[in-house]
């Protein structure tokens, strides 16, 4: 009996243990390591941009807006959840690693992370306007942070960029052996100088966004721009480009560009906007491949011709073109008399060089066009170039083209040239003429597009010759210097080229459109009355539903720098 009792007690003792608070299957918080959190932040940043693109690329007609036929129903607060959540979780990760990083003197990790933090915050301020900043990221101490004015966020971020530059000034990128996935060498060893260049460039971008104001926080905008351009430590070479470089592995892990995953696996993927393909391939009215980037940007799975299209795979073909599409406001910037706003395909159903995307606000059902809709090409997603093949056919399952080895462009040297062109034209700051910056921007963009990865042999027929590039540049500069051209027209041309060069990034075109109102001939929604434009994106449902301090959601709220009161559509 005693023995029995003893045995039973032994077996029951473990059932009386009442202190089991920690999950044995997860790492304890004190096991965190800033080096690996830095990896998380670097890897998640392109996801943040991609999720911002889901709104910004659609509202700026790079990708097709198909979620609704008017602005009222095209987006909902829930559509911002992913971007908003990704952004703040990254900011929280950066915050969480700082004490240990400071303790270990990981200054490179600290500085580079701070710059990424600034990029996230300025992007969120640009896209959403006022956002939680000063009270954010406090966990249980404050679950409902108040929203800060976007001007205050901008001013704070501007200061933080200066702090980051200070931290990086004497940073040792080998301390702790962090991997620098943006500017690292073959072994992943980071480059602090490039991060400093990025910080300066981001400052210039913020100043340019705010250029219609006089001050940014305590800084005089003109003076700051003058200094930055004078110091000339800005992104001006491909090596300095701020872009995430994807890999090629399909599973475990899937390291490919997310749009490649979407468009090259199954079912056709997201539609590219007809307007953007029109702007690249048609609007200048110079025939196919006049823009040397055309084949690199877009890939036709099959030739789209009149005989291969019908009501089943191209329903808009048999529907009447909305009459407001004939309005001259939406016609070509270069040849308004001959090239009207496109409808249904990128070439207005002429089937001369048809890319098949979708019109703005076409929310109709999905026809059986998986194998004919146009997908993104080799740039920037690492897709296909060359002869048509069905890339999302069941038998190709994501093994075509450059296997998703693309980039997520954030700030490229071409963007900086366009920004400098805009600054020169509007504020007259800088030594180089706006025309030369415009030209440099175009050349940098063409160069990036055609050399950003080792090009496959399929690309050889499309690699631009000097003559072709020259013809394109001459054409654009010819328009720029055209008779009786106004600065407004010149600015529109700069923004138009910036828009084309920004393919794969919707954030910069969205900022540019609200700042300048260009491109002014954006394809209108199929419904004539689209409703008010998105002056900012809806706040995320995740915030609005859970934070009583969230302001009410509407499309008229504006970023502080959006002061021009432009008619946007």
């Amino acid at each position: 009996m005693f023995l029995l009792t003893a045995v039973l007690c032994l077996s029951s003792c473990e059932t009386f243990d009442l202190d089991q608070l920690n999950n044995p299957s997860t790492l304890d918080n004190n096991q965190s390591d800033p080096i690996y959190v830095f990896n998380y932040v670097q890897l998640t940043l392109p996801d943040f941009v991609y999720s911002a693109n889901t709104f910004t690329q659609r509202i700026t007609r790079q990708m097709a807006m198909t979620g609704g036929n008017t602005y009222n129903n095209a987006f909902a607060p829930v559509n911002s959840d992913n971007n908003w959540t990704t952004g703040y979780l990254m900011l929280n990760a950066i915050k969480s690693m700082e004490p240990k990083a400071i303790e270990n003197n990981y200054t490179f990790v600290l500085g580079a992370s701070k710059i990424m933090r600034c990029y996230i915050l300025m992007t969120m301020a640009d896209v959403y306007g006022d956002i939680p900043y000063s009270e954010a990221l406090q966990g249980n101490a404050n679950l409902t942070p108040r929203y800060d004015n976007s001007a205050d966020v901008y001013a704070g971020v501007y200061n933080e960029l200066n702090e980051a530059i200070g931290i990086l000034a004497d940073a040792d990128p080998t301390n702790g052996a962090p991997r620098d996935l943006y500017y690292g060498n073959d072994k992943g060893v980071g480059n602090a100088a490039n991060w400093i260049t990025l910080a300066n460039t981001l400052k210039l971008k913020m100043l340019n966004n705010s250029r219609q104001l006089t001050t940014l926080g305590s800084y005089n905008i003109t003076n700051e721009i003058t200094t930055l351009i004078g110091n000339n430590d800005l992104i001006d070479t491909p090596a300095e480009d701020f872009a995430f470089k994807y890999g090629t592995t399909r599973v475990n892990p899937n390291s490919r560009h997310p749009l490649y995953n979407d468009q090259y696996e199954l079912g056709g993927g997201q539609y590219i906007a007809n307007y953007f393909m029109w702007a690249v391939s048609r609007e200048k009215n110079r025939g196919q491949d006049f823009d040397p980037r055309e084949r690199f940007y877009f890939f036709k799975q099959a030739p789209v011709v009149g005989s291969s299209t019908n009501a089943a795979n191209l329903p808009c073909k048999s529907l009447a073109k909305p009459t407001h599409y004939e309005d001259s406001r939406y016609a070509s910037f270069y040849a308004p008399a001959t090239i009207k706003a496109t409808y249904c395909t990128s070439d207005n159903l002429t089937f001369t060089n048809a890319y098949l995307g979708r019109d703005h606000g076409d929310n109709s059902g999905i026809p059986s066009d998986d194998d004919i809709r146009t997908v993104a090409g080799i740039y920037p997603i690492g897709g296909e170039i060359g002869s048509p093949i069905n890339v999302n056919s069941n038998t190709n399952f994501g093994l075509t083209g450059e296997l998703g080895r693309g980039i997520m462009p954030m700030i490229l040297s071409s963007y900086v040239h366009f920004i400098k062109a805009e600054i020169k034209l509007t504020l007259n700051i800088g030594g180089v003429s706006a025309e030369d910056e415009l030209k440099a921007g175009i050349l940098a963009s063409i160069d990036k597009t055609t050399t950003f990865i080792p090009m496959p042999s399929d690309a050889a027929p499309f690699l631009p010759t000097a003559t072709k590039i020259q013809a394109y540049v001459d054409f654009v500069l010819g328009v720029y210097n055209g008779d009786g051209n106004t600065d407004a027209k010149r600015l529109e041309l700069i923004i138009k080229e910036y828009y084309i060069a920004a393919w794969g990034n919707g954030i910069e075109p969205y900022n540019a459109y609200r700042r300048t109102g260009y491109p002014s001939n954006f394809q209108p929604t199929l419904e004539e009355n689209a409703g008010e434009f998105y002056n900012t994106a809806y706040y995320a449902g995740a915030s609005v539903n859970n934070n009583p301090n969230a302001p009410s959601n509407n499309r008229s709220k504006k970023v502080f720098w959006d002061v021009a009161n432009l008619p946007l559509h």
Partner: protein, 1054 residues
């Protein structure tokens, strides 16, 4: 036979101690009732207060002097007093207490009580209701039989999960499934699914499927909190107490009995829709390879893509000469194939054999049970096999110790096709039912190949659907369980009125799952294999002191009760391995795949409870029961980890209390009861401290090594998390009227759940996106009514007609969520799913709806179709208004005919079966396809809509495909749950055979149903749950139709 098994118990119960007692005169005898010996009868010497109990043969022995009075008592029987005379042998015969009709029920912690002493509702269901039935799932067999208990299958597939909810949903994001207690042991009844509903979670079986219905003696359902307090937090959603034959050997009172039952049932899909055979695949009367059947009529010649000879291009010609050279350039006739879907379904067989041996020795009783079930479903590759081995026994030693033990081993193996979420244009993950029902009427599914003859890839009339026949052959979701559960208990009688007992219980199972699909399908073209192992362990110790004493000599006051300590450990251990990119077709081992991903996790928690319960009885007509328990939970901070919760109930039997009511012709029995109960709910473990997220191989750059990452978790720990508290008030009335012809059992309850734990979304700007919090409140109020009516009564052999019925109505309201939170998703998608909305019933369906103008008119857009409201709106309430069951039992001599009807009033369901069949135009729908239609509504300017749309647009766009609201139907339905005819052979026929009893039954289940508010030709049975077992309800995502079953069983006893 007896000696054959005796050694087992000698082995098992090898603990004995001998005491000897001095004796003067020993009175002995055998206590019987109706000629059978009665074990465990209390024998008390009124004079000396000495007491004992009869053994398994009804024998007792007690010290007494001549003139002493011995009282023989047993619950449900009249006390028998005998004065000791000269003889030292007394053989009393006990009589049932006809007045009391003292039904004995099993209550909390296995305590048996007279039903009249209970201040709360308990429904007891006898073996006849679920043994030898077509349903091999014991819970499913109980559907409709207990008021207040809502049981719903997830689909008609063999081995699929079953949802059981008692008195409504009382937790928001926690589990609402009741606790199963088998022979006093908490029994894990989880539904362990590896995927979510998108992947077909409904396919996973619920672990109470491991119980063999044929080895169950009875099931008691404790519904209210005043009944379940002693079970602690685990019992807060109700308790299903299962007593197996092996676990109840004490009441065996035959030397030896062998019973054999054999049944054979057929299972079929409950019904198919009424397909139309006039129009084929296409759009706008044009032949196209669309999903839909809005193409030309089969009489069309020379237009709409149909040749003048009535031919169309061969559907496989597009594969080209590389795959099917024989079809290149070929045509097929434009015609309907009326039976192209039926052969996809087959008739399965359900074969069950059960052998039970029970008996008793001198002081020992035993039971052995072997059950074998082979359940083949209505579709190929759906099979559920189960082997149950069970043994139990108990022995009473003369020294006051009683030892008992039960051991069970279960082996189950299940296979099923993949049943992922189908959305009407295919499925996100492979899914067998997602497309089959809308196979074009013009496609000869069974006359054409389903695979590429060389590569084995799926072939179909369009590439973006996996051929359903291919999927059936090339994919499977298999599950196997090896389970051991049992208990060991020891009881020591301290004296005649008290004892101490200790029980150790163990429940341990390992569930292995294997999910695979060969390469060559559409969704996973490269193949996929996932295997998981889930080991689940429950260790449960209970030590208790129990007493039962009359407080005064007259027997007016009696007190019984129990005080105990219970400690329970629950743990699980999960590992998963996924493999991608199959190498050789058709071979399912991980080494045949190129890439692998592994995952594992462990979890463990303990709950220690101290409890007490006491009942004070006055003259056997008034009973006051007080209970309380305090629980300590291992995964909350010390200051919040315990909760004390009391309960009290009162039972009063006026028919015993007042002389005027005694022997009343009209009111034979009445009992009033009122109870208050409370209970605790604990969160999932590890919610106060959240660890880090880490991932290896998060990214592989083109140059350089693979990258590993660490980040804070998106979930935020909540240090102030505390248990949730449930409170319930219950009132009841039980009565027997008109010579016991009419029986009424009515309960009313009001249950409130406070500090409900939910996994709340956080504003991400806090740095985190979710946290477990105590913030919400739910109430459930309801009525449960059980009725029995003897319509025709006669002597035993004559014509009898008994009717019984249940009525259940539960009103559930989400009283509050976190401040400012207007809705919380519970199940489904974030834009179409079940939500908790303050002021609304739990789980209302929110989704897309048609935009209304200020006057409530539908708004029609410029294209002539409805405009969708951009806001998420409530489009349905899945909770039924009420449910009712009517069971008829008509018998004459040895023939019994029974049938059970069930009616559900209200309760909405979003049906993808409905919207896909209608929008694909495959069923008879009354739409004139040559005509045009104008949708009722107004255009955005407020004028009456006048835009004509084609029949295709009318049918395709307005069947719920685009606007969720149009897919929501009221699920009111009536069904013939069961119909049976049984015959037991008269005694005189079997007198000369070795059989003691022999009976045969023919049974049919779900043979007829009618969902009144669905389009008639769909023949749709809304009794499905595509979100699986859990808190989601009211969704049909084409994950599996219901089945009907019919066949016979034979029972033999010898």
């Amino acid at each position: 036979m007896r000696s054959k098994f005796k050694w087992i118990f000698t082995l098992l119960l090898a603990f004995s101690m001998q005491f000897s007692f001095a004796q003067e005169k020993t009175v002995t005898g055998t206590i019987t009732e109706g000629g059978l010996p009665m074990p465990t009868v209390n024998v008390v010497n009124k004079n000396t207060k000495a007491s004992t109990q009869s053994d398994f043969d009804g024998k007792y022995s007690i010290k007494a002097k001549t003139g002493d009075v011995l009282v023989f008592s047993f619950v449900g029987y009249t006390d028998t007093n005998v004065t000791v005379g000269a003889s030292s042998v007394i053989n009393p015969v006990l009589k049932t207490d006809a007045q009391v009709l003292g039904e004995v029920v099993v209550t909390g912690q296995g305590i048996k009580k007279e039903k009249k002493a209970l201040g709360y509702a308990v429904t007891t269901i006898k073996a006849e209701e679920f043994a030898s039935k077509p349903s091999t799932d014991v819970v499913r067999a109980l559907t409709g039989k207990a008021p207040g208990v809502n049981i719903q299958q997830t689909s008609g597939l063999s081995g699929s999960g079953t949802n059981i909810i008692i008195r409504g949903y009382s937790s928001i994001t926690g589990s609402n499934q009741p606790l199963f207690v088998v022979d006093g042991v908490p029994f894990n009844s989880d539904t362990n699914s590896d995927g979510n509903f998108l992947e077909g979670a409904t396919n996973a079986s619920s672990r109470f499927l491991d119980l063999d219905p044929n080895n169950i003696e009875s099931i008691s359902i404790l519904k209210g909190l005043s009944a379940t307090t002693l079970y602690g937090s685990a019992g807060s959603k109700g308790v299903v107490l299962v007593t197996t034959k092996s676990g109840n050997t004490k009441e065996i009172n035959k030397k030896m009995e062998v019973s054999v039952s054999q049944s054979l049932y057929m299972t079929e899909i409950s019904d198919l829709p009424d397909f139309q055979n006039s129009y084929g695949v296409g759009n706008e009367l044009e032949y196209r390879t669309t999903f839909g059947n809005w193409g030309p009529s089969f009489n069309t010649r020379g237009e709409g893509g149909i040749g003048f000879d009535g031919s169309v291009v061969h559907p496989y010609a597009y594969y080209g000469a590389g795959v099917f050279p024989e079809y290149v350039g070929q045509t097929v006739q434009w015609q309907a194939y009326p039976n192209n879907i039926k052969p996809f379904f087959s008739t399965g067989t359900v074969n069950t054999t059960s052998v039970n041996i029970s008996g008793r020795g001198d002081n020992t009783s035993y039971n052995l049970n072997v059950g074998n079930t082979d359940d083949k479903g209505f579709i190929e590759n759906n099979q559920y096999k189960r082997l149950n081995l069970s043994t139990g026994g108990s022995t009473k030693l003369s020294n006051g110790f009683t030892f008992s033990t039960v051991m069970n081993y279960v082996r189950t193996d299940k296979s099923a096709p993949l049943t992922g979420y189908g959305y009407g244009s295919g499925a996100v993950t492979p899914s067998i039912f997602s497309t089959i029902l809308y196979t074009p009427r013009s496609f000869d599914l069974f006359g054409l190949p389903y695979e590429d003859p060389k590569t084995h890839e799926s072939v179909y009339y369009r590439r973006d659907i996996t051929n359903p026949r291919w999927l059936l052959k090339n994919a499977s979701d298999d599950e196997s369980v090896r389970r051991f559960y049992g208990n060991f208990s020891a009881l020591y009688d301290i004296n005649s009125w008290s004892n101490v007992s200790y029980r150790l219980a163990l429940d341990n199972y390992t569930q292995r799952k294997k999910y695979y699909i060969n390469k060559g399908g559409y969704q996973t073209p490269l193949g996929y294999l996932r295997t998981t192992v889930n080991e689940n362990t429950v260790f449960d110790h209970t030590f208790s002191y129990n007493f039962n004493k009359e407080l005064d000599k007259k027997g007016n006051w009696a007190l019984d009760g129990t005080v105990g300590v219970n400690s329970r450990m629950e743990g699980y251990n999960y590992t998963a391995l996924e493999s991608f990119t199959q190498f050789v077709y058709g071979f399912q081992e991980h080494q045949n795949y190129e890439d692998h991903l592994g995952y594992s996790e462990n979890s463990n928690f303990n709950i220690v409870g101290v409890y007490a319960s006491t009942t004070l009885a006055f003259r056997k007509y008034a009973y006051l029961n007080l209970q309380a328990r305090k629980d300590y939970f291992s995964s909350l901070l010390k200051e919040n980890r315990s909760l004390f919760y009391p309960s009290a109930s009162l039972s009063f039997v006026p028919t015993d209390a007042f002389t005027v009511l005694k022997n009343n012709k009209y009111l034979n029995y009445a009992k009033l009861r009122v109870g208050y109960g409370s209970s605790a709910g604990f969160p999932n473990p590890y919610q106060t401290n959240i660890g880090l997220f880490q991932q290896t191989s998060a990214f592989t750059p083109v140059v350089g090594e693979t990258v590993n990452i660490i980040s804070p978790n998106s979930q935020l720990g909540n240090p102030i998390l505390k248990p949730e508290l449930y409170k319930e008030v219950e009132f009841g009335l039980e009565a027997k009227l008109f010579n016991n012809r009419l029986g009424i059992d009515l309960s009313l309850y009001d249950k409130r759940s406070n500090d409900l734990i939910i996994n709340a979304d956080l504003a991400p700007e806090s740095g985190f996106s979710a946290q477990t919090q105590n913030i919400s409140e739910i109430s459930n109020k309801g009525i449960e009514l059980g009725l029995s009516l003897g319509i025709i009564k006669s002597d035993t052999d004559g014509f009898q007609w008994n009717l019984s019925g249940t009525f259940t109505k539960n009103r559930n309201i989400v009283e509050s969520l976190a401040p400012g939170v207007e809705q919380l998703g519970i199940a489904g998608f974030t834009n179409l799913g079940n939500f908790a909305v303050p002021g609304r019933p739990y789980g209302v369906i929110l989704g897309g709806s048609i935009l209304r103008d200020g006057n409530g008119n539908y708004v029609v857009g410029t294209d002539g179709n409805y405009v969708e409201d951009p806001e998420l709106k409530e489009i349905g309430d899945p909770n039924a208004d009420w449910k009712s069951t009517i069971i008829n039992e008509i018998s004459y001599k040895n023939i019994t005919f029974g049938f059970q009807f069930e009616y559900q009033k209200g309760g909405d369901i979003y049906s993808n079966t409905a919207n896909s069949l209608l929008s694909r135009g495959v069923v008879v729908d009354g739409i004139d396809r040559e005509n045009t239609y104008i949708l009722p509504g107004v255009n955005p300017n407020g004028n009456i809509n006048a835009i004509q749309i084609s029949a295709t647009q009318y049918g395709f766009n307005n069947s719920g495909f685009f606007i969720d609201e149009q897919s929501v139907y009221d699920a009111t339905n009536l069904r013939l749950r069961e119909i049976s005819l049984s015959y037991s052979l008269p005694k005189k026929f079997i007198e000369k055979t070795p059989f003691g009893k022999m009976s045969i039954s023919i049974v049919g289940q779900n043979l007829w149903y009618k969902a009144f508010n669905f389009p008639t030709h769909l023949n749709f049975d809304p009794e499905v749950m595509s979100l699986g077992v859990g808190n989601g309800q009211g969704f049909d995502y084409l994950t599996g139709p219901t089945s009907k079953r019919y066949g016979f069983n034979i029972n033999l006893t010898f």
